[in-house]
Symmetry: C2
């Protein structure tokens, strides 16, 4: 079979942390790391589209995922190249046929709850009504624990500098596929969407994990990506919960250690009570 | 003197929490509270401007603060009325003379790091260059502790339902003026900006506290509001730090208990070493 099409991409991962002087409550000076935050202005076919504030760890994937999740480009085959140039804080995207009626489609502004990618163009909720997640997808409790443990032991900017959100994509058996951090969790989820797009991965049998809250936009994006399982270290909101129920997505909040709260898509989780007894015996 | 001008405001505080079924890792069911999240579409002089995703606790103040922080309306006197109608998830703003060249001024989109109000219209950084915070404003360490303790003991949606950010405005002596929570910290800071606008409060001698991160947009908004002191339970980012240094703002991160990290505007903090000795003696 012929190899997957791949747009021409730069590889412009930027420095992810920055050192600053900190003075504590006793007047003691030290040097601490904080996460980078930089603007990335997206030009599509030489037209300025948006400026994303980002950590800068995966700017090409972020750009692709942004275009995908905003439904501005329908197919990766439409993307000729994505070239990031930090000397001007910009990324130049070239498409094969341009973005149809981009003016109209970028006109409607929704300022959302999410960190990072606060703005979605209109029509997301309309789209949600057409989403059908695979009805038979199931997630064993043991896989939830494998995922939480993988995240706990993951090297990260967060551990070094704090103040970033992490998102990860796992297989249905809990193997880590992607781990992306950004100053905003919406950039992180978009970057993962970009990587899935590049690799032609479907969401149907995947599990998405985020350190951030499962607000409406996060759940909508997970649904757009066709992912039936959303896990979070944090909680959810009324609209995030409502959207998850609407599309039949499994929402697991407060995932830490052996604990979690299943808030939607209850039928998808396969409980394994023996796991906890085993853990208790070991403890 | 004549009373301050006040636009006609609705008082449409909505229900702030919502109960959902939660199933824990042992299969035990319980009912938990999660924060509300609802769209609020802002119409200015019958023109649709933006949709904000909000908790709904202070929609009129949020709308005013959004218009102010986006620099879409220059003076509160320009605002005739702000009427929220949750039956259609909309707020109707009537202005005296309309928003000048609104098309152009809302065209430029920046998707920022912030929770909640992820989108700022263009030109914020240009404006930062013109901001001069009062050079002599000082903050005693004891006031930092008074503020942190006030927040710790504050009744909040966060304590009941989690997943919201809180922002608060304090006087220079640490008296609480406003405490606002929202699903996004950017809505919370905008709502406080709206209240300051209504009451004609200047930022010059105030202290701003947020539970969220001090990303670029939060620091820019604090600077726009003329507030020389930003405190956070959380951390900052490289651009947040850079903007604070640029405008001479005091940034205190990781404020919990007696601990904090002073990251910018070092000269503004008045250290009181005796406080810690006194606290140690009591402990």
């Amino acid at each position: 079979m012929k190899p997957r099409y791949r747009p021409l991409l730069s590889n412009a991962r930027a420095t992810l942390t920055h050192e600053v002087l900190a003075i504590d409550e006793r007047g003691r000076s030290s040097t601490i790391s904080i996460p980078a935050e930089r603007p990335l202005t997206v030009y599509v076919d030489k037209r300025e589209l948006v400026t994303l504030m980002t950590l800068g760890g995966a700017p090409e994937a972020l750009t692709l995922g942004y275009l995908r999740n905003q439904r501005l480009v329908r197919s990766i085959d439409e993307v000729v190249s994505v070239q990031v140039d930090w000397s001007v804080d910009a990324v130049a995207v070239v498409t094969r046929h341009g973005i149809a009626d981009v003016e109209e489609r970028t006109a409607k502004k929704v300022v959302t709850t999410g960190c990072g990618q606060g703005s979605v163009f209109g029509g997301l909720m309309d789209e949600v009504d057409q989403i059908a997640l695979p009805p038979n997808a199931r997630l064993p409790q043991s896989v939830v624990y494998r995922i939480v443990e993988t995240i706990r032991t993951q090297q990260s900017v967060y551990k070094q500098a704090g103040s970033v959100h992490g998102c990860a994509l796992f297989t249905g058996s809990g193997e880590l596929l992607y781990f992306i951090e950004d100053v905003g969790r919406h950039n992180a989820v978009d970057a993962i969407a970009g990587l899935m797009w590049l690799e032609g991965l479907a969401g149907e049998d995947k599990v998405f994990y985020t350190t951030g809250r499962l607000t409406s936009e996060m759940v909508i994006k997970g649904a757009q990506m066709g992912i039936p399982f959303l896990l979070s270290r944090s909680g959810t909101t009324q609209m995030g919960h409502m959207v998850a129920q609407k599309v039949g997505m499994s929402l697991l909040a407060r995932c830490t250690g052996k604990h979690f709260l299943l808030l939607a898509g209850h039928e998808r989780l396969v409980f394994e009570p023996d796991l906890l007894e085993a853990a208790a015996r070991l403890a």
